[in-house]
Symmetry: C2
DNA sequence: CTATAATGCGAGCTTTCGCTCATCTTTGAC
DNA sequence: GTCAAAGATGAGCGAAAGCTCGCATTATAG
């Protein structure tokens, strides 16, 4: 689908200037989220989003050049939320405590809207990530890298790999928990903490 | 899509009896895999699969009641391969060595067809898993549970949670690595081993 | 060799979906 | 109050996708 993706580059649309229009844009993005949560990717059609948002299909296309842009805007909104929380970790002096803040942010993000988090993780990975998302994702990795470099945490010889792996471990546990419908925040945090800390302080062949 | 999903239950199709028909079915399943790998979920259409398999669309629908059944058959085929390899682990006497065999099977499965493994992981999770897949998935968890109960591995107070988390950790690291295009088998194994072993021998609040 | 079952074919029906555009309504600056 | 710009509408176009069905071809039993 995405019919105008060939030919002219998806041209920029109107910017919402008046408050009324900003409400409209916000309603459309939130409708995208709710459709994805309830109907999944199959039910995600532009007409369904417009109806759920309470606007006409024409209005939707005044602000979003195509269906993919809806996903892009939603991903940008959600990851910005997560990164904003994660940002708080860098201000914490103790290394382990800072890591806890980061993990807490990730867990909270997952618990808040589990189905959405899972789905967007996947959609994000199969979308040519534009400048915005590239930047946000890089920011999260930068925060994690700075935490893992703290002197009161186990030193990581290969920092880049450690960042990738820790991020993957967190996401893996949280997505699986979300799929199972887990909602126990503290229990989840303990398990993520255990996995991350275990990875950081272990050398590959210990037994 | 999936147009006949309402009304009568997707009726069973012909079973391939002659060798010729078995070749056809195999070709269709493999075509599904290749389409998913190269075009992704968007390019996954029944017409595309039939063309890639070198059979007509009518032939395809003689053996698969609908599009979803193609995915189901492919998932069954791939997970059966993984479980067969994992099964070898239970025969190994040493606990750590057995765990190594299991991790090796998972890594090999990921390295063999990275894009496919990632995609099917996700598709599987959003599909009402039928009896077959339920059984195969359960078998993998059973193997993992039996390994984690070995006396020469750290005892797990909550075995069920440990099984879920270890599986999620393995899948998380492997999917992320596949997304980045990693192909170094031994390096990947070391990292997965590190994460799993670290989790197993760590209690939640160690620092 | 013949009859019957199994397999294979593909034009095309039906439905859905992304998206446009001509038109109408609302807002706000002067 | 006027008018231009911003915002909103929704019928419907064109394309594509899932799937059927009548028929042709190939294998096998007797």
């Amino acid at each position: 689908m995405i019919q105008n993706s060939v030919g002219q580059r998806a041209r920029a649309r109107k910017q919402p200037l008046q408050p009324r229009a900003q409400k409209t844009v916000e309603a459309v993005i939130e409708a995208t989220a709710r459709i994805l949560e309830t109907q999944g990717h199959d039910g995600f059609t532009t007409n369904a989003v417009a109806e759920r948002a309470g606007v006409s299909i024409g209005t939707l296309y005044q602000y979003f050049p195509n269906k993919e842009a809806l996903l892009g805007a939603l991903i940008a909104r959600e990851t910005a939320l997560l990164v904003a929380d994660a940002e708080l970790a860098v201000a914490v002096t103790s290394g382990p405590a800072a890591l806890d803040v980061l993990i807490g942010a990730a867990v909270a993000h997952q618990i808040r809207r589990p189905a959405l988090a899972r789905l967007l993780d996947f959609e994000e990975s199969r979308m040519p990530l534009d400048a915005d998302r590239q930047r946000v994702r890089g920011r999260f990795q930068a925060i994690l890298a700075s935490l893992l470099s703290r002197p009161d945490l186990p030193p990581q010889p290969d920092l880049h790999t450690a960042v990738m792996d820790v991020a993957a471990i967190i996401q893996g546990i949280l997505d699986a928990a979300g799929e199972r419908g887990e909602t126990a925040r503290e229990a989840l945090m303990e398990r993520v903490r255990r996995a991350v800390v275990g990875y950081l302080q272990t050398s590959p062949r210990p037994f």
